[in-house]
Amino acid sequence: MLDKLARLSKSPLGNPTRLAIALYLLSREKATFTSLRKALNLTPGNLEFHLKALEEAGIVRTYYGFGKRPRKFVEITDEGVGELKEVLEILRGVAGD
């Protein structure tokens, strides 16, 4: 149990907001910065902070797309899916203990 919790605390997805971001992105091809912010009820600065941490850990990828105005898109990476799978397994284990 302690091992699992230690692994969870070290994971980039150990934070509930970051875990919610990864789960939101998993169900979608991509999300705009604004839709993600509204869905998770975060301030732009707060979301930017978490996305930066997730991008540095290779969990998500952000890029700009052009339409009527430039929009920032976010998507989960394959590495992010692997990490999310591990975190969910740990949480399942914790819930089962």
Binding site: L26, S27, V81, G82, L91, V94, A95
Partner: protein, 189 residues
């Protein structure tokens, strides 16, 4: 702990629904694309006076290119979701190659047995779907009976073939039925 367990179950349920919706979208694409190609070809040949054959050919190419782009995105998402849900641990070797090979094999067999464009389409898609369901069973162990059902409907319908319009209608029917079954199944879970 109990709350965490409940929350995880809810997440899993949601992800499973999304997985099935992504599977259904591929069929829904062809429901509008096949009927759209046929309808658009009728409009263009009727009002512009271009030959139906060349219009159909161009529209089919456009529809297939659109499908490949759509399928690439949907397939990637389904694999990601299946990894998370523990349905696939690792991509089985040859799985994608087998899925791609299904279509040229179906095309060759359809060319051998079909007498016209309509029956060729029914045999090509029907056989392709049956083979896809077989590959799914072989590589991942999952019984994709919905896809197999669509394949059977298309193959059986060749005996009552009346014209290309009939082939378009049967294909749209089979595909819309499969997407309905996917979504219905996902909602029931």
């Amino acid at each position: 702990m109990e709350e965490l367990g409940e929350a995880l179950k809810a997440v899993e349920k949601q992800l499973n629904f999304t997985r099935k919706a992504y599977r259904a979208i591929v069929y829904l694409y062809w429901v509008w694309a096949i009927t759209g190609v046929y309808l658009f070809a009728q409009v263009i040949t009727g009002y512009v006076g271009v030959s139906e054959g060349s219009v159909l050919q161009t529209l089919w190419v456009m529809a297939i290119l659109g499908f490949l782009a759509e399928e690439k995105k949907a397939f990637k998402k389904v694999l990601q979701l299946e990894r998370i849900l523990g349905k696939i641990e690792e991509m089985p070797k040859g799985y994608i190659i087998a899925q791609i090979l299904v279509w040229p094999v179906s095309a060759v067999i359809a060319s051998l047995y079909a007498k016209n464009n309509g029956t060729w389409m029914l045999v090509f898609i029907g056989l392709g779907l049956l083979l896809l369901a077989g590959i799914e069973l072989l590589f991942t162990g999952s019984r994709d009976w919905r896809t197999a059902l669509a394949g059977l409907i298309l193959l059986c319908s060749t005996t009552l073939y009346t014209g290309f319009e009939y082939a378009v209608m049967v294909t749209a029917f089979a595909f819309s039925l499969v997407s309905y079954l996917y979504l219905k199944g996902a909602m029931r879970e």
